[in-house]
């Protein structure tokens, strides 16, 4: 019994995910619990997942990035325009897209670091600007007629596994390595936990903070490219509201809004929870209005349960460090 409890505590997010899967599985076993649907959920989640991992880096170091959705939009129309109007090859266009995302991240980070504004506000402003730029790049119209091979990265398979999933997994592995095994990763946590302390310990906090935004921008760019391939056309609104979904996923996945805390594994669970919810409710044919209520309630329930559980745990602090 106690074992179960401590398991639930530690793998709280995983438990929610499993409960949701079982729930939908019981209600619609024939269509929900199939192998292919599971793959679909993961495939659908990959784009958001990649962006969420970028967000995780930023949040771990104490920042936040509300512009990521707009970055996805900009990158996806930018690459689409390069591929069609300018007739660029796949590789240069992709590289340009990734570089663009990284650049946006660098600029974002630099602004935040130099001026000392709240990341939430700075990136909110950038979100608006970038949304405008996305429209301007394509004149407000979706860019279609992509070359066929441009769809690969969004719709292709290697063996039975969809390519976006493979990209997602690679991103997960690298991110986990960086965060857990390298100095830089630990420095990110240190900065998020107490920036002044990190600075006084000789960590170049400003440079590393900018780096997290650059990583976030890079991964948003990557997400934008996959998004483009998946919907086979560059949409100026491709990433609209994505930042809120990613934020939700990250927070459900235990990433702290105040920095210093956040694990890749649980964040991925958070992403999958959102994916399962979207997929499951569509399969269940639930009306959009009720979907909103249900989604909000599950979101609220998850964070509340987590909050309560942490409160209880926090009450029994082992202050004596023996």
């Amino acid at each position: 019994m106690d074992k179960l409890k401590s398991f639930i505590k530690q793998y709280f997010v995983l438990v929610i995910l499993i409960v949701l899967i079982i729930l939908f599985g019981c209600l619609r076993p024939e269509s929900f619990l199939t192998m292919s649907n599971m793959f679909t959920v993961i495939r659908q989640s990959s784009i958001m997942g990649i962006a969420t991992i970028g967000l995780l880096f930023v949040m771990v170091a104490g920042g936040i990035d509300l512009s990521l959705g707009s970055v996805i939009s900009v990158e996806s129309v930018l690459v689409a325009v390069l591929l069609t109007k300018f007739g660029w090859g796949l590789l240069p266009a992709y590289l340009c897209g990734l570089a663009g995302g990284t650049l946006v991240g660098l600029v974002t980070g630099a602004i935040i670091v130099k001026t000392g504004i709240f990341p939430m506000i700075g990136t909110l402003a950038l979100q608006i600007i970038l949304q405008g730029i996305a429209y301007l790049v394509c004149g407000g119209m979706p860019v279609s007629n992509l070359p066929l091979n441009a769809k690969m990265i969004g719709q292709g398979y290697i063996g039975p596994i969809p390519i976006p999933v493979i990209v997602f997994i690679i991103v997960i592995i690298i991110a986990a390595l960086v965060l857990n095994r390298t100095y830089i990763g630990r420095h990110f946590y240190a900065i998020g936990s107490n920036e002044e302390a990190a600075r006084l310990s000789g960590i170049n906090t400003n440079k590393l903070k900018v780096a997290t935004y650059a990583i976030g921008g890079f991964l948003s760019g990557l997400a934008g490219i996959i998004m483009l391939a998946r919907i086979s056309s560059g949409q100026p609104t491709a990433g609209k509201n994505m930042e809120m979904d990613c934020l939700t996923a990250a927070v459900i996945g235990g990433v702290s809004l105040t920095g210093g805390e956040g694990k890749i594994s649980t964040a991925v669970c958070g992403v999958l929870i959102i994916g399962v919810l979207t997929n499951g409710m569509t399969i269940m044919n639930i009306s959009e209005y009720y979907q909103l209520v249900i989604r909000g309630c599950i979101f609220l329930g998850a964070v509340c349960l987590d909050g309560i559980q942490k409160q209880i745990a926090g009450g029994k602090k082992v202050k004596k460090a023996a």
Partner: protein, 494 residues
């Protein structure tokens, strides 16, 4: 002797204050150089200049013969300067081990060698003679342990000049002893140390040379042998003062506070009482549970059982608000997080607990408010250009005074002082002691928690010694002795 560090003609101005005024100062290789001075004299500012945490307006720093006009923490860390600041600089979400090695590499690759790290951490902690689990998160530690981690953190680097800004303030005698041993060891290894403290005994025990600061200027630098306590205090405050405790002539009245079988999440049932005009000292080692008891009494933490009686009547206290209404005030030990509002003015801080009383029909009477604030600002000699100054801009000691002033203003009958003189200079300490005495004369009941053995022996009428969350001994004034207290305090611990 060769100097490892010289600072020349350094000036640092803040709006309304000159924190450092053309200061010059030097530290020789391998010496322990003590820095003393009143609150706000500019000690912390000076060491921040040395580590590059702040940039001075004028002046330069010469370290190992090389001149630096613009230092920063990264650079200073690279050249072997480490500091333990007055305020904690730890990452609460990270573990002890990660904090100790924050910003330091133990190997060359970009990947962390966790095994190596764990080993080294263990070694350092052993050197400090503590049993902290390297994998506990900082936010789960008490203040004293945090301080030990701070020290460990400085040791983990290749340090040549170690700066300690009041390192012993949150420590009890046991840890202080360990710290002293450490300082002597480091000195033997050729490390230079700048040591800031308000405790005269420590200064005379450790220092080779002593520099006295006053009002942002260096008054003088002397060898330890060439001075004595009284002289030093005179230099610091510019007037005669002796570091003795005011004589107490307690006139004990009826029992004001009675705590019966009080029990919370981490202490056992505790029973004691305090009478009118009495000072009861709570002594004990780090983590003995003194703070916990205080927080239970004022309803800041949830109690499991037990009762609190004020004036013979049982009172229900569920929150600090209830406690204040029943005349119990608590000066917290953690000033930064629990004591003062750093972003708010002195005025707002001092009147916070009594604002309701200063208001008519919820509207604040500003005249009354200012009068009240001025009174306590003067009474405690809070050094500030204006009562509208943000508390965050005050020196550590003056912040503490604000924290105390706030509760004096509330005119409670029962006062719980948790480390009330932490970080306060000798002059101000005297004032606070006298104030406490005056308050008991007026019939207040006071519980005083202090980790400074001298202080608690000097001030208390009666002493309760705590260990592992319960009271293990009670001593009357005539029974006070360091030995006796230590025996009680550590008996059970090991």
């Amino acid at each position: 002797m060769e100097n490892i560090l010289e600072i020349k003609d350094v000036t640092k101005r803040y709006p309304g204050v000159v924190a450092l005024n053309h200061v010059s100062f030097e530290v020789a290789k391998g010496e322990v150089h003590a820095l003393v001075g009143e609150n706000g004299a500019g000690k912390s500012t000076m060491i921040k200049t040395i580590t590059g945490a702040i940039t001075p307006d004028e002046g330069k720093v010469i370290y190992e013969g090389k001149e630096y006009t613009e230092l920063n923490p990264i650079l200073s860390s690279q050249i072997g300067i480490e500091a333990i600041y007055q305020e904690f600089n730890l990452a609460p979400e990270l573990t002890v081990q990660e904090n100790i090695y924050m910003g330091t590499k133990v190997n060359q690759s970009i990947f962390i060698d966790r095994k190596e790290l764990a080993e080294r951490t263990k070694k350092i902690l052993k050197e400090l003679n503590t049993n902290i689990d390297p994998n506990v998160r900082i936010k789960d530690l008490t203040v004293a342990y945090m301080q030990l981690v701070e020290i460990a953190k400085a040791l983990a680097k290749n340090v040549k000049l170690l700066i300690m800004d009041e390192p012993t303030a949150p420590l009890t005698d046991n840890e202080v002893e360990i710290l002293f041993k450490l300082v002597r060891n480091l000195k033997k290894r050729g490390v230079s140390i700048i040591y800031i403290s308000h405790r005269m005994d420590e200064i005379f025990e450790l220092a080779d040379r002593i520099t006295v600061m006053r009002d942002g200027e260096v008054i003088k630098t002397v060898n330890k042998e060439d001075t004595n306590k009284n002289q030093l205090i005179y230099d610091m405050v510019g007037r005669k003062l002796t570091e003795t405790y005011p004589e107490r002539h307690p006139k004990l009245g009826k029992t004001l506070l009675e705590v019966k079988n009080l029990c919370g999440s981490s202490n056992e049932e505790t029973t004691f009482s305090v009478r009118e005009g009495e000072i009861v000292g709570l002594a004990g080692l780090v983590g003995a549970g003194r703070t916990e008891i205080a927080r239970l009494i004022i309803g800041a933490d949830k109690k499991y059982s037990g009762t609190v009686c004020v004036d013979g009547k049982e009172v229900a206290i569920h929150s600090p608000k209830d406690a204040i209404q029943h005349g119990i005030a608590y000066v917290s030990e953690d000033r930064k997080n629990q004591g003062v509002l750093l972003k708010m003015s002195i005025r707002w801080n001092i009147t916070l607990p009594i604002l309701r009383e200063l208001s008519k029909m919820t509207f604040i009477n500003f005249k009354e408010e200012n009068k009240c604030v001025d009174k306590y600002k003067d009474a405690l000699r809070i050094k500030t250009p204006s009562i509208n100054q943000l508390v965050g801009n005050l020196s550590g000691g003056n912040q503490q005074k604000v924290a105390v002033a706030k509760w004096l203003a509330s005119e409670s009958k029962i006062l719980i002082l948790d480390e009330p003189t932490r970080g306060i200079d000798v002059g101000a300490k005297q004032e606070i002691y006298e104030l406490i005495n005056r308050l008991t004369d007026e019939g207040l009941a006071i519980i005083m928690i202090s980790s400074e053995m001298e202080e608690i022996m000097g001030m208390s009428d009666r002493m309760l010694v705590m260990a592992e969350g319960r009271i293990v001994g009670e001593l009357d004034r005539e029974e006070f002795s360091q030995n006796q207290i230590m025996k009680y305090a550590s008996n059970i611990t090991d």
